[in-house]
Symmetry: C2
Subunit: 395 residues, 2 copies
Amino acid sequence: MIAEKMKALVANNSAVRAMFEEGAKLKAIYGEENVFDFSLGNPNVAPPETVKEAIYDILENEEPTRVHGYMSNAGFETTRYAVAGSLNKRFNTSYTEHNIIMSVGAGSALNVILKTILNPGEEVITFAPYFLEYGGYVRNYDGQLTVVPADTETFQPNLDAFAELLSENTRAVIINTPHNPTGVIYSDETLSRLTRIMRKQEEKNGSPIFLISDEPYRALAYDGAVVPWVPDYYKNTFVAYSFSKALSLPGERIGYIVIPNQVEDHENVIAAATIATRVMGMVNAPSLMQLVIERCIDEKCDVAYYENNRNQLYNGLTGFGFECVKPEGAFYLWMKSPIPDEKEFVEAAKEFNILMVPGSSFACPGYVRLAYCVSFETIMASMEAFGKLAEKYNL
Amino acid sequence: MIAEKMKALVANNSAVRAMFEEGAKLKAIYGEENVFDFSLGNPNVAPPETVKEAIYDILENEEPTRVHGYMSNAGFETTRYAVAGSLNKRFNTSYTEHNIIMSVGAGSALNVILKTILNPGEEVITFAPYFLEYGGYVRNYDGQLTVVPADTETFQPNLDAFAELLSENTRAVIINTPHNPTGVIYSDETLSRLTRIMRKQEEKNGSPIFLISDEPYRALAYDGAVVPWVPDYYKNTFVAYSFSKALSLPGERIGYIVIPNQVEDHENVIAAATIATRVMGMVNAPSLMQLVIERCIDEKCDVAYYENNRNQLYNGLTGFGFECVKPEGAFYLWMKSPIPDEKEFVEAAKEFNILMVPGSSFACPGYVRLAYCVSFETIMASMEAFGKLAEKYNL
């Protein structure tokens, strides 16, 4: 009874659900505190107190028909002005509210961008490992996703392979930095070379190739690492941002799209993205949360908590002999499976009540992802279990 | 630079924007209080006080990582349970939380439903006059929208024409009750006959035709009018609801989809609609507002205010000799243009600082829509202007 296009999605989802149900079963048997669940990217750190204060301030002092009412499909002008101002201060840019469209989180931002630019049959390129939802997003507009194989030395994008895969049919490239699932931040060198390659292909094609920078983890960078501002490297760049992680508001679905004036035909592109927000049915980003963002634009949740988690988990696991990519940002740790079949490894870890996601779920088998947006106590308590897991594999 | 499909949407949007800008210009010249703007469906009545109280209660007493966190893509189980309970109480049904998917307003609800069931080339039927966005929604999934001409006697759907238009290729029918732009509530008789025709065609086709009931105005019914519960009439019914009008929360984007167990293959359909919510990028309905809904499920804004507006506007306009459909629900008044070209009439009304929407914008020329979700004072103050407008046309 369902649409043909939905059938594969439903079938695939059953596998994901089975994984969840197994986790829930383990927790029911052993008690929640005795299961070390590193499978979910749901922030455990609370939003900063200023979020709550902002909500109180808005409800007490603003007109309720404005607070909860319709506004332009692009969002409140005041909110977009605040977003532009924050970006300008941090990245020395000169955006105005016209360059900003508020979105229903980064997921909707990416969909709005793809709806705006993608024609059926056109190609979008991304880099393994990658967030598999990109495939669904691209297929929503009948595009084709091409995946560049991973550079398993650095987990920076594999640019040699990328240069060979770009084609006449390439319409867009999606990057994600700081990166899910590896925790890597795309370096200045990476972005310089990546965009050089794209410019060359743009010239060859005689039409733009858009760079879409998916940045929900921008606020989570450790050891003072800098996350380069991608539009500085390339004119035809869209930025998709979300406050899900910076302010621990993933359920609120609040983010934004940046469309710089440097984007070719930017007036039409901005108009189309605004209309896409409406015609896809979202209409606008949630209104109260837009006003919250306006007041908390430069606030952050307790990022040091994640950094501390990262240090403990990375040091603990490498101490046991596991091979890990040291995360520079986001809240994921990317670990090499000690055996080639990482799904078997994930199964074995369950014997010790450790839940992880196999790299195959990011198109990169042989690795696993651990989400460390969990309590520090969980990480500490998991160490013994990881020790036994290491022993099992003679590390 | 934009996708081919977006080009017509951008071109059409410029016309809408021109209309808005003209209204803004009038207000700048004559002062906001001297322009009688009946063009916008943005509620002017505040949400009930219980909405604010619910937000305070949630922020004080619930875990912030839950309040603002991810949950199942279908929404919080507790919220869906509350929605199902309210429906069961009001309509004597036996839904559970599994029959409810929380949505980003009615616009997203309709898109999720269409994404779930519609294959490229399949037909969706609706009835003029209608909310033109339906066309965009159907084209999002490469469907074809067929519009049944209006029954200008009653503005109930024209079922004779409908029976002739249904075909082998018909996959879904969208109805809207209480109705934008006419204020009509689809009667028991209408729904009985409409669904009889659909069942007959279903048998002929040997495959289901889905009935999609778009009901954001359900809470706004006057003179004690009953809005029939559509799934009572037809098994393969989806309901798309929004709290935008009932609770005056249009900017918050919060609504739900009902998929009864009577829908053929309902398990798969529910799974697909849940996944569609994710893969279209919304991921889930805004979390704080879900928890608000849970606490305010049977609350309503001041509907009597709209009823009072309706009475004044309807009595005033008919008193001047205008021919109007008496609204049974929603907050729109549908008036016959005294001249065949209603766009000319809309232009003439601007001379008296009256702003209305031409019926052509609802695929029903010869009529105009007045949104009376404005202050009672605006309606009173507009009477003199309408008097002059009537005089101009010798009514």
